[in-house]
């Protein structure tokens, strides 16, 4: 299916879907596809060293700080039931208390401890993000590899499907899927809604990489040796495609957390009283004037986590790009 694109060579327009959050899956892919091609080394012309003594690339301290934060958040979320936290559901007399030694993040309108709600909310937010992106990678990855490897009519059909998915505003798509599931706004529904939105961008990324690798010598060699298609895909292409997808998935998890927040803002995320970060931020927005911490504390955690995922994903991508080039 033809898409409204400018088919100008040299430009890789990121086929933008309309993702609710600030980041956008499709734009991210555009960035990845362009990749370091644009990052011209100023000294290219005089770079006479080809002996492969390339500068040692490290992940760097930024990556470790980012990964450390994410690990901390994830660990807290997993261990929430055994951590000595205050109840996240039981109201108390301490209503709208600002952050203090007793209530690190303050309390909300019915006196629940925001810190323990953020930890418990992390469980849901992270679970939704992981589940949705896993779903997206599974479905989108399959679509991408199949269309990139087999090309022809299958590719046209599958990519046409992706084009249609992309031409809907993503939040609209997610909302419709939630609505489709009726009033069952559970983890599964929300993950499915966000997961479906992530299919098309991931499929595009995987397809682009598959296209590149299926032209490489080792695939041609395997093919000429009579290897079966399935074997080529699994043994030759998948291992090469998996790294860009993984590094992108890290960023995508951040986007999924934001997307959950977007749904929560429209009252369409997981039903109360289960806390999610998005839901908590949304709940507190009417009290911005008097008790801003109700929104801002979960906001801060969400933001730092998303930034950490972005930075970590970026670093990993650069790290593996170097390997690619050798």
């Amino acid at each position: 299916m033809p898409a409204p694109s400018s088919d100008t060579p040299g430009v890789v327009p990121s086929k933008s879907s309309i993702f609710a959050g600030s980041g956008d899956l499709a734009t991210e892919i555009g960035r990845m596809a362009d990749g370091s091609a644009h990052e011209l080394d100023t000294m290219r012309e005089v770079d006479s060293d080809e002996d492969g003594r390339s500068a040692k690339k490290r992940l760097g301290p930024v990556f470790w700080v980012a990964a450390g934060w994410f690990l901390l958040v994830a660990l807290a979320a997993v261990l929430a039931p055994i951590l000595p936290l205050k109840s996240y559901t039981a109201p108390s007399a301490y209503i709208r208390q600002p952050p203090s030694a007793q209530f690190w993040f303050g309390t909300d309108t019915i006196g629940r401890d925001i810190f323990s709600r953020v930890v418990w909310g992390g469980r849901v937010s992270l679970a939704v993000a992981f589940a949705s992106i896993s779903f997206g990678v599974l479905v989108g990855g399959t679509i991408g590899i199949v269309s990139g490897y087999f090309r022809g009519r299958i590719e046209t059909l599958l990519m046409g499907f992706c084009d249609v998915l992309l031409s809907f505003p993503a939040l609209l798509l997610a909302l419709s899927i939630v609505a489709f599931r009726g009033d069952q706004r559970d983890l599964l529904t929300i993950s499915l809604a966000i997961g479906v939105v992530s299919i098309a961008p991931i499929a595009r990324l995987v397809r682009a990489n598959t296209l590149v690798y299926s032209q490489r010598e080792f695939v041609t060699a395997a093919r000429s040796l009579g290897a079966k298609r399935g074997r080529i895909i699994i043994r030759e292409i998948l291992p090469n495609v998996i790294f860009p997808v993984l590094s992108f998935s890290i960023i995508a998890i951040g986007l999924a957390i934001v997307a959950e927040g977007g749904l929560a803002f429209l009252g369409q995320s997981v039903q109360p009283p289960t806390p999610t970060w998005g839901g908590m931020i949304s709940d507190g927005r009417n009290y911005l004037a008097n008790a801003p911490w109700i929104s801002l504390m979960p906001c801060l955690v969400l933001f730092v986590t998303v930034v950490a995922l972005n930075l970590a994903g970026d670093r990993i991508r650069e790290y593996f790009d170097i390997k690619d080039n050798n």
Binding site: V46, D47, S48, D49, R53
Partner: protein, 369 residues
């Protein structure tokens, strides 16, 4: 004042040194170390004369020409030595000061006319902008000059061309356009950096002839950078042969061809290398190509590929020494055509590390064939 005196004065004026380069070195600071792209080059260029700079890809010849013009800038470029233009030192000039020299006094024709013309700017504009910048003429006059220029470089229907874009012209036509741009403000020195490498063989001679003709008419000095010794043989007054960023042989053209001393020059002449490499691979250190400029070999740069090579060549760097003929310098312990050189070659042949003199090719260049 008699006519003779005037003539003499004129010829003195013409002979006067236009460009004086002393011990010019250019080093790039890169992630992997310092790259000595040009190392201690010295020469003078008189009005109306042509200097040929010859070398393989990566020999530093392009860096040398850009370095003289001061086009390489940035904190990772270190330039030392002296470049005097009409007696004035220009090495310390700021980019702003240089911009009055660029285009007006010195200009450059680049290797690939496909990339050296702005693809989204009309040809007329690309010619007239420097006219208006340096000569301060108005638009109409600039257009008229541009038309005259295009006509003089042999472009048909020049009025029409002004409104066209580069992609509408063939490669040869585009190079004519870049030449007309370079000539627009009447520079006294024209740098031609492999002006024909990117062109079809059939067009190459035409472009070189055009440069020759323009040079004569304008009494302009020219620095012709090429990898093809055959190109400069008939066109240059003096030749500098570069290898690994260093001058390995320097001589007036006739002297060079009559008594070349450097095995590298000999090798160049004996089998003109077909090095039509794309420009960006120019300085790549491919085996059998110019040496690594970051950590150059301890001895002679050329030793690894030299038929005359002796143990001494691997340990000691040969200095640039003067030959018998005036203005002839070379950098070799076992020069071609001397007893030492012959002995070295004989020893290598008998040891089986060098083959006997290969048959000289009947034609050395595409130009001459």
């Amino acid at each position: 004042m008699t006519a003779t005196e005037a003539d003499t004065n004129l010829s003195v004026g013409q002979r006067a040194t236009l460009l004086e380069v002393v011990d010019l070195s250019t080093t790039f600071r890169t992630e992997r170390g310092m790259v000595h792209a040009v190392d201690g080059v010295t020469f003078t260029l008189d009005r109306g004369r042509t200097l040929g700079i010859v070398g393989e890809s990566g020999s530093g010849k392009t860096v040398l020409s850009r370095s003289i013009m001061g086009l390489l800038s940035g904190k990772n470029v270190i330039r030392t030595g002296s470049v005097k233009y009409e007696g004035t030192e220009i090495i310390g000039y700021s980019a702003k000061q240089m911009s009055n020299v660029w285009g007006a006094e010195m200009s450059m024709v680049f290797q690939d006319p496909m990339t050296s013309l702005n693809p989204v700017m009309k040809i007329g504009k690309q010619i007239t902008e420097s006219l208006r910048r340096h000569l301060g003429v108005d638009k109409d006059e600039a257009d008229k000059t541009a038309i005259a220029l295009l006509k003089s470089v042999g472009i048909p229907a020049p009025e029409q061309r002004l409104g066209e874009y580069p992609h509408q012209l063939s490669g040869g036509m585009r190079q004519r356009v870049t030449i007309s741009i370079a000539l627009a403000c009447g520079p006294k020195i024209l740098f031609a950096d492999e002006p024909t490498t990117a062109l079809d063989v059939t067009v190459q001679a035409q472009i070189l002839d055009l440069l020759d003709e323009q040079q004569r008419e304008r009494h302009m000095a020219m620095i012709l950078v090429t990898h093809d010794l055959g190109v400069v043989r008939t066109r240059a007054d003096e030749i500098i042969v570069m290898y690994g960023g260093k001058v390995v042989e320097q001589a007036p053209t006739s002297t060079l061809f009559a008594s070349m001393k450097m095995p590298y020059t000999e090798a160049l002449l004996r089998s003109i290398p077909r090095l039509d490499m794309p420009s960006h691979t120019r300085l790549d250190a491919i085996p059998g190509r110019p040496p690594n400029l970051i950590s150059p070999p301890a001895g002679c740069n050329f030793a690894a590929r030299c038929r005359y090579v002796q143990p001494r060549c691997l340990e000691e760097r040969p200095p640039l020494v003067a030959a018998a003929d005036p203005g002839h310098f070379y950098r070799c312990f076992f020069p071609v055509g001397t007893p030492e050189g012959d002995a070295a070659l004989q020893a290598n042949i008998s040891a089986g590390t060098a083959v006997a003199a290969p048959a000289t090719r009947s034609s050395t260049t595409s130009e001459e064939s």
